[in-house]
Symmetry: C2
Subunit: 341 residues, 2 copies
DNA sequence: CTGAAAGCGCTAACAG
DNA sequence: CTGTTAGCGCTTTCAG
């Protein structure tokens, strides 16, 4: 009876079975399997063989609960709708994987409440660390993080207050940089086409920076078009079309919330036969490969997203090794002149 | 001494502390917090308050170990380099999140050995289920899955043997469909530009299907250009350029391994002033929004990637509820005529 | 180098 | 509706 119950409930071999088979105690089997040379060569071989024969897969829930380190890292991203956060995740995963760690993922959809719930959920798995691209700056989230007492890396922007560590660059500065570049090219009237900035506060920071940059010589935005929904190529196409229709005079240059949107702008111009950059100059943000493959490469600002993910993961791992990386790590943007502005 | 040790090691409040504070036993607190109405209203309120005051975050490692269901789902994808698998992951996450589950992620990089290691690693967390886009068909992986005794969904292609459940469509059929469509349009000579098909066996299946489809009327591929590295817009651009340079006669139509590559092809034609589709017809695969936003929308085959992820997650959850979804669930492709072929 | 004992934080199984 | 008892599978002490 008791046997049959065990059979149905959990047939997976346990460490104790491995130990029995190898003729050693549980703890010796444990030490052998975890490596570290605390066990005689011969014993090690016997345990390893026993494990192999039984097709043993350790139970890390038990291991972690008993005091081992977790080897899971919580990751909260606001979206997976464009390649940007996929790139970040790729960088994260590649560094974590190297250390034997795995990301547990949550998507906040730029929603504070959701972010908070995710934080709680992921924390309940007692991860070794946390990486998040904050969707906003909620006090509740901050409190949770502070109390959690584990390495936390906030990624993408470094302008907001940091609970623990931050990796990324200043989006505000990026906006300013683009403003200055376009001014340097001689453009004097400007438009902006963006996706929903009430949710994407980094896009908003870029826009603010852009405005500040223009203000440095007294220039301003003559037209702004904010589209609803997540950014995309079609949305940018539609956005530029709308902006130009609404505006009495065509601006010299248009800055887009990101490259997806800007490529859409390029397509609009191709469609209506408007020359770029002579008829109108266009600039994006992110440095996606698609923009660079256009017949006329897109003027944009490259962000090193994969590296941001990689460095963030690395910071967590460093911390777990007892080191203390810089609180704020810059992975800076780079302006790409391109040919559209 | 003992106290100070406890302080440093783990200051997080436990269920027992919550229980004490609420004046009930641990198990009552447990029942209260898990919901289900097994506890008196008043008791529930007291426990909830105690938990809130202590800022209690349950330890799911302990919970799962003690017999609860895991609420983690292992996910293995071959790549995050283009939007395709990000879309899948998005669909997966959105369904899992609704059920209170979270994905633990691994990227196989189309490598069998790596996939196997990931499988072991993820299994060691005792997930409630597994979703994977197989990178290949390794026997070792299959054995692991069979022995694991948990719901497993293989996604993307449904042509290969399925260990448990499968969600997706036949990539071979997709290739055939495109061949037939192009033949129907009157094209008679064909080229192919792809990325590395030794690793991406789904792209390979599409190519084989395409060949078969052409063979149905005795047509063949006059030129094939396989590029190294992961697919991208620049790679497709370069690929078409190379193909056309190498070929004595320009083919009527070129099929690309996917939309990223095909958009690159479109850009090449724009660059050299080759008319599409009159000078040359181009077709892709995936139905990415970028292709549809081109001045001339790309002829392609749309795959419903987000839905594949969603359905896969749903199958896992169904299974955990004791239901038995169809072993093979079709989320079919759809040919989009577009204007480039 | 190996082992015995104790316990991580929680929940299933029985009782009341 | 609530409590007691006994683990889950592993690792940390502390002893040899």
């Amino acid at each position: 009876m008791a046997t049959s119950q065990k059979d149905t409930r959990n047939r997976r071999p346990t460490l104790s079975q491995v130990a029995k088979r190898a003729g050693v105690s549980e703890i010796t089997a444990s030490r052998a399997l975890r490596g570290g040379g605390l066990v005689a060569q011969e014993t090690l071989a016997r345990v390893e063989q026993a494990a192999r024969m039984l097709n043993y897969v350790p139970n890390r829930l038990a291991g972690t609960l008993a005091g081992g380190a977790s080897r899971q890292v919580g990751v909260i991203l606001p979206s997976l709708s464009n390649i940007v956060f996929a790139d970040v995740l790729k960088g994260l995963e590649s560094r974590l994987e190297g250390g034997g760690y795995h990301p547990i993922l949550g998507i906040s959809h730029y929603d504070a409440e959701r972010e908070e719930r995710l934080l709680r959920d992921l924390l309940s798995w007692r991860p070794a660390g946390l990486v998040l691209a904050p969707a906003c700056n909620s006090a509740a989230s901050r409190a949770l993080l502070q109390a959690a007492d584990l390495p936390v890396v906030e990624i993408m922007d470094i302008d907001t207050d940091t609970a623990d560590m931050a990796v990324g660059f200043s989006h505000r500065s990026a906006g300013r940089a683009m403003a200055h570049f376009l001014l340097g090219r001689g453009y004097r009237t400007f438009g902006y086409v963006g996706h929903d900035i009430t949710t994407d506060f980094r896009a908003k920071a870029r826009l603010e920076g852009f405005r500040e940059g223009l203000a440095d010589i007294g220039a301003t935005l003559t037209g702004i078009r904010i589209m609803e929904g997540p950014s995309s190529v079609p949305l940018g196409k539609q956005g530029l079309e709308t902006l130009l229709r609404e505006l009495p005079e065509r601006p010299d240059a248009v800055f887009f919330s990101n490259d997806d949107m800007a490529v859409g702008g390029v397509f609009h111009c191709q469609t209506v036969g408007l020359a770029v950059p002579d008829g109108i100059a266009l600039a994006g943000f992110n440095g996606l490969s698609i923009g660079q493959a256009l017949p006329t490469p897109l003027t944009t600002i490259a962000s090193n997203r994969e590296r941001i993910g990689f460095v963030a993961a690395d910071n967590i791992l460093q911390r777990l090794l007892g080191k203390t990386p810089e609180r704020i790590q810059r992975v800076d943007f780079k302006l790409i002149p391109g040919g559209t502005a």
